[in-house]
Amino acid sequence: MQSSKQSKNMFSKLSLVFEELFVFLALVVLVLLFGFTADNFFTTGTLAAILTQLPALTVVTIGMTLVLISGGIDLSVGSVVALSGAVVGLLFTSSEMPLFVAAFLGILAGGFTGLVNGLLGSYLRLPIFIVTLGMLEAGRGLAYMVTGSQTMYIGPSIQDLSLPIGGLGLSPAFLIALALVFAAQFMLTRTVFGRYLIAIGTSEQAAKISGIRTEPYLTAVLVLSGLLAGLGGIMNTAYLGASDPNAALGMELSAIAAAVIGGTSLMGGRGTIVGAFIGVLIISVLQNGLAQLGVTEPFKRLITGVVIILAVLLDRWRSR
């Protein structure tokens, strides 16, 4: 009796670590697959290609994952990426403002859109799907207005953020993104804020009865998502060296896909940041690998879509 209890306890512990382990193994398998089928996969060139595009999607996915775990969704992140980039572009090129101040204001702009989303969703009780959908349109429109509907060139000063330093080929942007992944994971599992997000996402009613005021937390997580999307906008602008109003079109869907592949439930209450990050890696590896194999764009999207659906089915099976 005692040993079966112990082994049951071990199994539940193992399946907690196992959640992320599972996705990680999937990533490893994918990498090996491409390594054997594509000629130049295991090269620094590939690694560099993946790593430079990664930071923006990563930070946006962090925000999206937190929102999903709390039971909500943020469809506006792609537009916010473009908007914050546009704000930086405008402020930097039309005034004497130092770059990092402009960048800071760009991030704040993202936070502000998050605040609007949060207030409308939590206090006015409007469905968050619709609210952020509206912000998706409005944000994109604002991005166009701010840039005058054209790409604004910023130049090498911002690109430093995106350039690899040292021999490792890791850019400051990537390091920041990685640090945020671990910071967010820690916040989720070890702080009261994170615990409350999980509770609200699991059952908003039970959370209220447990004494949690849901409105401030739901608003805060959307502000966080906005700030992270703003940061993503800075990183994206750094990568391009310019503010592009068409940046990050559809990024919200990639972020959701990455989170879901990483084990986040769209119903709320379940998911990890590390898992979502592995999801980002899986998507990046998949897209790069397929490109190297010479797969055409339409096919790439088809395959990526199939992978996402498989991930959800697998997740359903695992959580029975």
Binding site: K5, K8, N9, S12, K13, L16, F186, T189, R190, T191, V192, R195, Y196, I198, A199, T202, S203, Q205, A206, A207, K208, I209, S210, G211, I212, R213, G269, R270, S319
Partner: protein
């Protein structure tokens, strides 16, 4: 046996629900065989079971939120042709069944989501009874009256008896032992997956059943000495909402259990929720008197209530209590998580684990450890975890709505023990229960609500079941008189 009502009792985990699930087609048996009316019966799906004439009412209701009451009742056999549902037929057939079970005040077209838990249980029963009497050979009822009050349950029992007398075979599974002995011709006791006892109900008492279920006899309950309550601590002044428009005032003291009796729909649950600060629209106020400096704190929201040591354990633990797919640990610590903070204001996993283990030990929760998912536990153990939650949050005013609904006998006694201990340690408890025996065992005082009004208050030793019932009905009698004029 044909044409008789057979009762099935046993502790949670003994195998009652599993047995029902096998016969109804949801699970496959590993071995053995079942025969219905002499023909060997091996169903492999719910549909086949239905075709064989097996009807069933589930413990965890099988209703669909988004459909109407009528659609839910006739779901397995919606009347209609290829072009759609025959609405008129649907409505009339549903209406018949609704009047039969006691849902006269509900419209057939009302959405299910507008119904209370008791009404939903009646819908589930109507659904089970919807199979035409000619086709129905076996009716299985799993905890059919758990959310109903005495009179509502009596009505259902009469229907069951009538049907049985007309030839229907009924399997009645319940924790309410008195009901089982009253309605059933024979009772079987399941223990650890085997039958420990099977005898005619006329030869059995509740104690016999309990002994057979648990292998031990109930200790004789001694009448508690009258406890002198302490300082008043919860003051409810002229509280009113749409459900109970006439203002209610009450006062609960430290070291006191105040029972709240009444029929389903009388406003008891709403009173508790309103005290806790739940629906925002209410008139009147709730005050908590601080133990130390005696000043009064106004309570007007759940978060404030919790911060000041008020706990609410709601009737529907599935949607308003537990975080279903989360661990026992998370469920136990969510309300008082602030107390587990360690360095840099972060949650210390070691402390969380230790605290949870202490609570599991203290309340004797049967589980595989702090990390087990709470929804894998039996109802009684889930309820214990909820109590643990509020212990950890240092609650000293407890609002409990049906604290032992769907809980097996042993856990029920343990929970009663625990509630008495809380009272003895100085907490104030308000308990709503549809089981008068439970209220009479636990309470120091009982308040009776009837049709949203406060109609009576009884001190311990001055009440009887008849007096309580009479008071519970009194508010409705006036309404009935007015209706006939």
């Amino acid at each position: 046996m044909r044409g008789s009502v057979h009762g099935l009792v046993g502790e949670n985990g003994a195998g009652k629900s599993t047995l029902i699930n096998i016969v109804s087609g949801l699970l496959a048996a590993d071995e053995g065989e079942i025969s219905l009316n002499g023909t060997s019966y091996s169903r492999s799906s719910r549909r086949k079971a239905l075709d064989h004439g097996v009807a069933l009412a589930y413990q965890e209701l099988s209703l669909i939120e988004t459909l109407s009451v009528a659609e839910n009742i006739l779901l397995s056999d919606l009347p209609g042709r290829s072009l759609g549902i025959a609405r008129v037929q649907l409505r009339t057939r549903a209406r018949e069944l609704m009047d039969l079970v006691g849902l006269a005040e509900v419209n057939a077209d009302d959405g299910l989501s507008t119904l209370t838990l008791a009404q939903r249980q009646l819908v589930e029963l109507a659904k089970a009874l919807s199979m035409p009497e000619a086709n129905c050979k076996l009716l299985m009822l799993d905890e059919p009256t758990s959310a109903l009050t005495g009179p509502q349950a009596d009505r259902i029992h009469k229907i069951i008896r009538d049907r049985a007398d007309a030839g229907l075979s009924v399997l009645y599974v319940s924790h309410r032992l008195e009901d089982v002995l009253k309605v059933c011709d024979e009772v079987s006791v399941l223990r650890d997956g085997g039958i420990a006892l099977c005898a005619p109900s006329s030869t059995l008492t509740s104690n016999d059943l309990i002994k057979a279920m648990s292998g031990k006899a109930l200790k004789a309950r001694k009448d508690d000495e009258l406890k002198t309550p302490g300082e008043p601590c919860l003051q409810v002044a002229q509280l009113a909402t749409d459900i109970f428009p006439e203002p209610i005032s009450l006062c609960c003291h430290r070291g006191e259990i105040l029972g709240i009796a009444g029929l389903a729909g009388a406003g008891r649950s709403e009173l508790l929720h309103s005290i806790f600060g739940l629906p925002a629209e209410r008139k009147g106020s709730v005050f908590l008197k601080d133990a130390i400096d005696n000043h009064e704190i106004l309570i007007d929201s759940p978060s404030q209530a919790v911060k000041n040591g008020i706990a609410l354990i709601a009737e529907d633990r599935k949607s308003q209590g537990i975080f279903a797919d989360k661990s026992v640990s998370m469920n136990s610590t969510v309300a008082g998580i602030g107390k587990l903070r360690g360095a840099l204001s972060t949650i210390s996993p070691r402390r969380e684990r230790r605290v949870t283990e202490e609570l599991i030990d203290r309340l004797k929760v049967k589980c595989d450890g702090p990390l087990q998912r709470i929804d894998r536990l039996s109802g009684g153990n889930q309820q214990k975890v909820l109590i643990a939650r509020w212990l950890q949050a240092r609650a000293n005013v407890w609002l409990l709505d049906e604290p032992t609904r769907g809980v097996d006998v042993t856990s029920k006694l343990a929970i009663h023990e625990q509630l008495r201990k809380l009272r003895d340690d100085g907490a104030a408890l308000l308990i709503v229960s549809s089981e008068l025996e439970e209220l009479m065992t636990l309470s120091d005082r009982i308040l009776v609500l009837s049709d949203g009004k406060q109609v009576a208050e009884f001190q311990r030793g001055q009440w009887s079941k008849e007096m309580l019932l009479e008071a519970a009905f009194s508010g409705y009698a006036k309404r009935a008189v007015q209706a006939t004029c």
